[in-house]
């Protein structure tokens, strides 16, 4: 299309909108409700232009406005005490939260979902999911340090899993590896409930000096608004083509890809370029372009600032010259950022972007007044109060109702399942569990991720937490773990969410780090279903109150609704990420034992708790009863013990107990370095009044196993006794023992363990 047709005549301007109040507009097709459309008219005092309608419709979508979830977020604030706020430098509401980890270092981390795009196009969906969360972290002024990827798929043996999983994994790896960010952990979970709706969550952590934190706000009248990075194409526009076809007739562009394609090389260059810009102090405010593209970036920057903004949209560099203004506003083209720059620093800004061959364009400037004005070839096509777009979208108090099926589920306890009667049976269950999709070795997945790049990785898969160094001089660094058992959350979303929090917290402490802060990625079904909304509320309450109990704040997160196939929602899946700090990460505790003669202790008490557990699920296809009891005081104490023991050199290995219970923890700790152990559980069974089966497979929380050097044994047990930590000496590391020897009961050789553990994924996905 030539300039003329693209400009004036075919564009819906503000003055035209004022003169033609009755034009039919496709608000319904764009996903707005009639009262929402009416509100827009009210705010503007006229009908919106097509461009304004486009902006409001994307910004007021569930994804961008949190309209169903927002009313529950008061729970975060209400449960954050002043003490918890002390280390919080930036809280919920910014692109990502920031915590103070000491020595002048600030760390920012956040998780995000890219579930639906990854189902449509697994590789690109997952890749752009990683790209998006990394830009969020960059927009805080941080250097990204590492990524993680909590993933959930349908049945391992369903043919569609063969399409989705390899693509997702290759996409996470393809993007992250090319950015040079180590992948330091994540999850791979299989459950039929995710069959038509896999979950692809991505987490990124970054660091900066405290004084270098940047925020997304446009202030200072006359400051320039600069768009930099990739050109804008028609990516991910989806709904807007509706708008285009309603407003324009023939001659328009035809196809707009709903799928976004990532260019990790462009993002890598963008990262380095941003870091140079920050170092040169030429950036006043900065925002990444993610969902809702320029609509989001311009309205949020302006809304967070103290003035207005004027943008000449026709200056946006395009990959596809046929894009219409409203499409440009909504495009989700990847690898773009927007900065606010003082005019006197613009020259230096552009020198830096030039050096990195990054295209940068001044689109407009910060104005006084309080309107966001966007023009197209001189004509005003948007003139709105930015807050009304970015922050004053609709909020819903959706109905909540505890689902009736819960009573049925609770009544169907795992007590009726056949428990193995003898040693032979126990061994068979152990090996099948070790080979089950959720507990098998995940290296088919994790070997596709670079865990070493940047040279700061102190711990990664298959250990309990990912640990990276932040300060090269001192070794100060962070540990992160993400966890969630969706079956627990299905049985009881409040307890399930707290168990997810507790597990991530425990994993971080197991690695030797002091837990400090929390992020979450809340994956749920449709908010229009009162049962789902109830699950959501319970989960948020669980995390918020749990955090208060543990004394660590939620710093940010993400909500993903509409994860369902037809009417069937996924299990509620509130993935929780906990971040901890260590003075020197080289002292981290690995999850496997190496040194013969070290003594193995089991910390914590075991109850008969198999509801929602892996044994019932994997071996009997059963889901029912109650999840394990949550005891956050016990978690706090255990974490304290683990951190202090690690700091004082009292433990050389530690592994937390979660899915599959003690049996799986012992097997994993043995497999880690191929060093065996002799184990005796009689005393534990007697103390906790349980049988051997329960001792091995129960998933009671607040437990861990540790390996203690003999020279430190007395100090270690004295500490446990003094603090009231339940502990039991259950074995010894022994390289003469081939695998695990449960004395007087059964033996499992290393080869048996290894064969069971490592065969499952390669059997489905190949070498």
């Amino acid at each position: 299309m030539d300039e003329v047709t693209r400009s004036a005549a075919h564009v819906d301007t503000v003055s035209r909108a004022a003169q033609s109040p009755d034009v039919e507009q496709p608000w319904l097709e764009l996903g707005l409700k009639s009262d929402e459309y009416e509100r827009i008219r009210e705010i503007l005092g006229r009908r919106p232009t097509s461009a304004e309608l486009a902006m409001y419709s994307v910004m007021w979508s569930e994804h961008c406005s949190y309209k169903s979830s927002k009313v529950h977020f008061s729970l975060w604030g209400e449960n954050t005490t002043d003490e918890m706020r002390e280390r919080l430098l930036v809280g919920i509401g910014e692109n990502a939260g920031v915590v103070d980890i000491g020595d002048g270092w600030a760390v920012t981390f956040k998780a995000e979902s890219h579930n639906h795009p990854s189902y449509v196009e697994p590789y690109q969906g997952a890749a752009t999911g990683v790209g998006g969360i990394v830009r969020d972290i960059m927009s805080m002024g941080a250097r990204p340090l590492a990524v993680m990827d909590p993933l959930r798929f349908g049945n391992l043996n369903h043919p569609d899993t063969l399409r989705v999983l390899p693509g997702v994994v290759a996409g996470v790896g393809g993007y992250g590896n090319c950015l040079g960010l180590p992948n330091i952990g994540g999850e791979v979970v299989f459950d039929d409930c995710y069959q038509g709706n896999p979950l692809v969550n991505a987490l990124c952590v970054g660091a900066m000096r405290v004084e270098d934190i940047h925020l997304a706000k446009a202030s200072g009248v006359g400051n320039k608004v600069v768009l930099f990075g990739a050109k804008t194409g028609g990516d991910g526009i989806g709904g807007v083509s509706v708008l285009a076809s309603e407003t324009f007739d023939e001659g328009g562009p035809t196809k707009r890809p709903a799928v976004q394609v990532g260019d990790p090389f462009a993002e890598k260059v963008l990262i380095e370029c941003c870091l140079d810009l920050y170092a040169a102090h030429v950036v006043d405010g900065i925002q990444d372009l993610g969902g809702a593209g320029l609509s989001c970036a311009t309205s949020e920057l302006a809304s967070n600032g103290d003035g207005g903004m004027r943008v000449e949209l026709d200056r946006v560099p395009l990959r596809d010259a046929s894009l219409r203004p409203e499409e440009i506003l909504m495009s989700e083209s990847q690898e773009r950022m927007m900065a606010v720059v003082e005019p006197s620093r613009l020259g230096q800004f552009l020198e830096i972007t030039d050096r990195w061959d990054v295209e940068a364009t001044v689109l407009g400037e910060v104005t006084d007044g309080d309107h966001l004005v966007i023009t197209w070839h001189g004509e005003v096509i948007v003139d709105v109060p930015p807050r009304s777009v970015a922050h004053e979208g609709p909020t819903y108090h959706r109905p909540l109702e505890r689902p009736a099926y819960l009573d049925v589920l609770h009544d169907s306890t795992p007590d009726s399942l056949p428990r193995p009667a003898d040693a032979e049976g126990l061994k068979a269950d152990l090996l099948s569990l070790l080979a089950s999709p959720n507990l098998c070795d995940k290296s088919w997945v994790t070997d596709q991720y670079d865990r070493y790049v940047q040279g700061n990785t102190a711990l990664a898969m298959p250990d309990d937490a990912g640990v990276v160094r932040v300060d090269e001089q001192t070794g100060r660094g962070v540990a992160i773990s993400t966890d969630c058992n969706g079956r627990f959350a299905k049985l009881d979303p409040y307890a399930g969410a707290q168990l997810a929090l507790a597990e991530a917290y425990r994993n971080v402490a197991t690695a030797g780090a002091v837990p400090l802060a929390v992020t979450d990625c809340l994956n749920f079904g449709s908010p229009e279903d009162p049962g789902v909304m109830w699950q959501f509320r319970e989960a948020v309450r669980g995390i918020a109150e749990g955090c208060r109990h543990l004394g660590i704040p939620v710093t940010g997160g993400n909500v993903s609704f509409y994860n369902q196939t037809g009417d069937t929602a996924i299990h509620p899946t509130p993935v929780v990420g906990v971040l901890g700090v260590m003075d020197d990460v080289a002292r981290r505790t690995p999850s496997g034992w190496k040194a013969p003669g070290q003594v193995i202790y089991l910390l914590g008490r075991t109850r008969d708790e198999l509801g929602g557990g892996e044994w019932a699920h994997a071996l009997h296809g059963h889901l029912g009863g109650r999840p394990p009891r949550v005891d956050l005081d016990a978690e706090r104490l255990l974490a304290d013990i683990l951190v202090n023991a690690s700091r004082d050199g009292l433990v050389d290995a530690a592994h937390d107990l979660s899915d599959g219970g003690l049996a799986i923890a012992l097997a994993e700790a043995t497999l880690r370095y191929g060093v065996g152990a002799r184990i005796w559980l009689d005393a534990v069974c007697e103390r906790d009044r349980i049988d051997l089966f329960t001792a091995l497979f129960s998933e009671s929380a607040a437990r861990a196993v540790v390996a203690v050097p003999r020279s430190e044994e007395v100090r270690f047990t004295d500490m446990c006794t003094a603090r009231g930590q339940v502990h039991a000496r259950i074995g010894v590391v022994d390289d003469e023992t081939d695998g695990l020897d449960l004395q007087g009961q059964l033996t499992v050789t290393l080869a048996e363990l290894r064969d069971a553990h490592t065969g499952t994924l390669p059997a489905v996905f190949g070498r």
Binding site: Q448, V453, A458
Partner: protein, 223 residues
């Protein structure tokens, strides 16, 4: 002693290489892809990563950068050059080393703690190893399959120019399990695994990367 570390757009392990150079007490000098200037360094490391995105073929575009225009003749003249992973690919594309690197035979990126046998302990970058020594260092790439025609392979074997061979299972389908090679003079070495990730206790699977850098210090001292 000054060792240059080149940064291409898309280089990832340049910082690690700088750290490794520092770990043996040498001075690391950053070299920029856009400058045809080696800044009087005594040796050069071409680090790992995805130069220019590696979208066409790994190393294919980096080969035409100004810094390579300066480096190729210097390397032919005897300057010690170590190409790690993407750096190895750049050396092959630049014809400083024979052969080429293609997609792994299993078609996936893979990150492993890999065992290698040192088959030539006489190059500028391997003199501190024992001939036949087994080491473990990080291997991580998607296109690490070393290929060349039979004549070239026979020549490499015959002249002792295979410097590293994979021990155990061949991780990527490299012909004759070749992990790294050298030129006739022994000053240019390329390998797929990453010694620079194995130089610090607490990070990486071993310290087996250090001898690469102590070797070149010695070579430079003798030069």
């Amino acid at each position: 002693m000054k060792i240059g570390v080149v940064t291409f757009p898309g280089s990832l392990d340049d910082r690690d290489a700088v750290r490794a150079v520092g770990a043996v007490g040498a001075e690391a000098v950053p070299l920029w892809h856009g400058d045809a200037d080696l800044r009087a360094v005594d040796a050069v490391v071409l680090p790992g990563g995805f130069s220019y995105g590696d979208y066409l073929r790994c190393g294919a575009i980096a080969r035409f950068s100004p810094v390579m225009e300066a480096l190729v003749p210097a390397a032919r003249g005897g300057l010690p050059v170590l190409g790690i992973c993407n750096g190895f690919q750049v050396l092959c594309e630049s014809h400083l080393l024979p052969g080429a690197l293609i997609r792994n035979d299993h078609r996936k990126f893979s990150c492993l703690d890999q065992r290698l046998v040192v088959e030539n302990a006489a190059t500028a970058w391997t003199s501190q190893f024992e001939q036949g020594q087994e080491i473990t260092i990080v291997l991580k790439n998607g296109e690490g399959g070393f290929v060349a025609d039979d004549r070239t392979l026979d020549e490499l074997e015959g002249e002792g120019r295979v410097v590293f061979r994979y021990a155990g299972d061949n991780p990527n389908g490299s012909y004759r399990a070749i992990a790294g090679i050298t030129n006739e003079r022994g000053n240019v070495v390329g390998l797929m695994p990453h010694p620079e990730h194995c130089v610090e206790p607490g990070y990486g699977p071993s310290l087996d990367g250090l001898p690469f850098f102590t070797s070149v210090l010695q070579a430079m001292a003798q030069a």
